[in-house]
């Protein structure tokens, strides 16, 4: 086999980088966030991350064994395992992480063909399912700067997250600077805005994340938040509170930009970013759950192939001209071929022949006749009356063809005489 021509699933990399280096970059970018979580909540935060990796890798291996596939050592399950705990509070139980990882691997990843084939972001679906199952555990946040117990019952002091206050229509009691530094209750990976943004910029500089996706998401999202504040504060204050609470910034860099589930073309990424921003805003504005971003992302993942198709069509038009009909307009109905048009005539002829045939033969083919009669009465095309002449003409033509193909008895006798 020619190695220069290979079929490979997304993400497609055309540089010296490989999928492995990209995934390594993401892991490197996630490490400072875990360090900050360790600073705020103690070793439990790190252990949650490690357990997430362990669960995802083990579940992937089990899946590969069940499907009789070779166990691959790619880093994508590890990233899923690292991202899921960062969306949850540091007090969350280990079994919640396990359940979220199981959903991410067994429901989102493996049934669709494993790495590079998943339709939805595994971490987003894992988090969303855990949030639906155990909202009390997933949306109860410990106050920062306290060391949590690694195992056993949670005895940490809990506090109200800014996102919850905003959902109630109240102004959060925290300073904007505290929110930027992450010393507010919330998901252990999403509150450190400075660190998250820095890690995101690192990924963009490394070109692991295309800048179009986070920028096209964050700008319209910020604009919508500023235009429609939920609290009685200035637009800027409202924007800061809304933007720095929740998982939108973390999600923009680490979930929305995932190469498999996001569109492949730049224009598609741009469209996906804008629509995701609108969806996330709507979930935040009208939804009951605090972290509507995950649900918005799941919904927008469905449209990624459509964005790619639209983008492809627009680019095609821009390059070669023509009309936008493949995506925006319905295709024209397929015209009938000559054979299909002749079909009713053939049926009528068959029926006529069957009527002329002897009674015994008719009795043998009663079932076939019934079917053909029903078909003829049901189909509107056949209801069109045919001229007797046209049928006769056809039968005459057929007879002529047969005569041409088969020599008559006189001709046969002449040939025999000649021989």
């Amino acid at each position: 086999m020619n190695e220069s021509l290979m079929f490979q699933n997304a993400p497609h990399v055309r540089q010296s980088e490989s999928v492995r280096t990209m995934m390594t970059d993401v892991i490197i970018a996630l490490v400072p966030i875990y360090v900050m979580a360790f600073f705020y909540y103690g070793p439990r935060a790190l252990l949650l991350g490690l357990s997430g990796i362990l669960f995802c890798v083990v579940f992937s291996a089990i899946g590969a064994l069940v499907l009789h596939e070779k166990i691959s050592f790619d880093l994508t399950p590890a990233i899923t395992g690292l991202v899921i705990p960062l969306l949850m509070p540091a007090t969350v139980d280990y079994f919640v992480i396990a359940a979220a990882c199981a959903v991410a691997i067994f429901v989102v990843k493996l049934p669709f063909g494993g790495t590079g084939n998943n339709l939805f972001n595994p971490a987003a679906v894992g988090f969303a399912s855990a949030a639906i199952c155990w909202p009390a555990k997933v949306f109860s946040y410990p106050a920062p700067l306290q060391t949590l117990e690694i195992f056993g019952e949670n005895t940490a002091a809990m506090a109200q997250s800014p996102a919850y206050s905003l959902a109630l229509g109240a102004v959060p009691e925290y300073e904007v600077l505290d929110m930027l530094l992450g010393s507010v209750p919330g998901p252990m990976g999403a509150t450190n805005i400075f660190v998250v943004a820095t890690c995101g910029i690192f990924l963009m500089v490394r070109k692991t994340v295309n800048w179009i996706t986070p920028v096209s998401f964050l700008l319209p999202y910020s604009l919508l938040l500023a235009l429609f504040p939920r609290i009685e504060a200035s637009s800027f204050d409202s924007l800061c509170y809304e933007l720095f609470s929740g998982i939108a910034i973390f999600g923009a860099f680490f979930m929305l930009s995932e190469p498999v589930t996001s569109p492949k073309r730049d224009f598609g990424k741009f469209m996906a970013g804008i629509t995701s921003a609108v969806a996330a805003f709507l979930f935040r504005y009208f939804g009951e759950l605090e972290m509507g971003f995950a649900y918005a992302l799941i919904i927008m993942n469905v449209f990624s192939p459509l964005f790619d198709e639209i983008c492809e069509e627009i680019l095609h038009v821009l390059r070669r001209g023509g009309k936008l009909k493949k995506v925006f307009f319905e295709k024209k109905p397929k015209e009938k071929t000559e054979k299909e048009e002749k079909l009713p005539f053939v049926r009528v002829l068959k029926k006529k022949k069957a009527e002329e045939a002897p009674a015994e033969a008719v009795e043998e083919n009663t079932e076939a006749e019934e079917l053909s009669e029903e078909e003829i009465t049901e189909e509107p095309v056949i209801e069109v009356s045919f001229d007797e002449t046209s049928e006769e003409e056809i039968s005459e033509e057929e007879n002529e063809e047969q005569e041409e193909k088969e020599p008559s008895e006189d001709e046969k006798t002449e040939e025999e005489a000649a021989v």
Partner: protein, 213 residues
């Protein structure tokens, strides 16, 4: 025996239980099951309802179908199936007084689903009453098998009990939500597909071995 089976359509009707399962293979009434079949009792109630709305309609279609004018047939089938909801209500009420009410619109949706309306007018009309009866029973059994397994699994994992008796804590409450119903049905369909493929392969190897012999 085989001739008898073929004559009365028993072979085909048995296939509807597993290899041509109406839900997992033919993809019928998925929505009703995913949304309504959250407990074992719900599964049983939906199974009884489906049996009662399907079998009489198919028999009715095979006996009277061709005697009725074309435009009236579907109306009559829908009428028969919805009338059969009344006995279904009383039978389901015998094992739980509120089960039929708690199921909401789903029993009614079963009464006007694909099999009572479309299957009866396309296939049952042209078959003999006994064959239609056997097909109806087969389809209903296939549906019941799926509904009961799905309902039991969702009740067990979603609320830690079976048939209303709770004996453990809920393992995964979200299983009772409709989207998990769809996911579980997808997994069940995959399992059925896997088994069907395995059976097909073994039959093919058997046939080839016999041919070689």
């Amino acid at each position: 025996m085989n001739q008898l089976k073929e004559k009365f359509g028993i072979k085909d009707s048995l296939a509807y239980i597993f290899f041509k399962n109406p839900v997992l293979v033919l993809g019928l009434v998925i929505g009703q099951l995913a949304a309504g079949d959250t407990t074992l009792q719900n599964g049983a109630a939906l199974s009884v309802t489906y049996f009662l709305v399907t079998v009489p309609v198919l028999v009715f279609a095979s006996v009277f179908g061709k005697k009725l004018p074309q435009w009236l047939r579907v109306v009559c089938y829908a009428l028969v199936s919805t009338v059969m909801l009344v006995p279904a209500y009383f039978i389901c009420g015998s094992f739980s007084a509120t089960i039929f009410d708690s199921l909401g619109i789903y029993p009614v949706l079963l009464a006007v689903s694909t099999v009572p309306i479309v299957y009866s007018s396309k296939i049952a009309e042209n078959s003999e009453p006994l064959s239609a009866l056997m097909n109806g029973i087969g389809i209903s059994l296939g549906f019941a098998l799926t509904a009961i397994i799905l309902g039991a699994a969702r009740e067990f994992f979603g609320s830690g009990g079976l048939w209303g008796f709770k004996f453990a804590d809920a393992v995964y409450p979200a299983v009772r939500l409709p989207f998990w119903g769809f996911i579980l049905l997808g997994f069940m369909a995959a399992i059925v597909n896997l088994i069907s493929e395995a059976v097909k392969k073994s039959e093919e190897t058997k046939n080839s071995e016999e041919g070689n012999a």
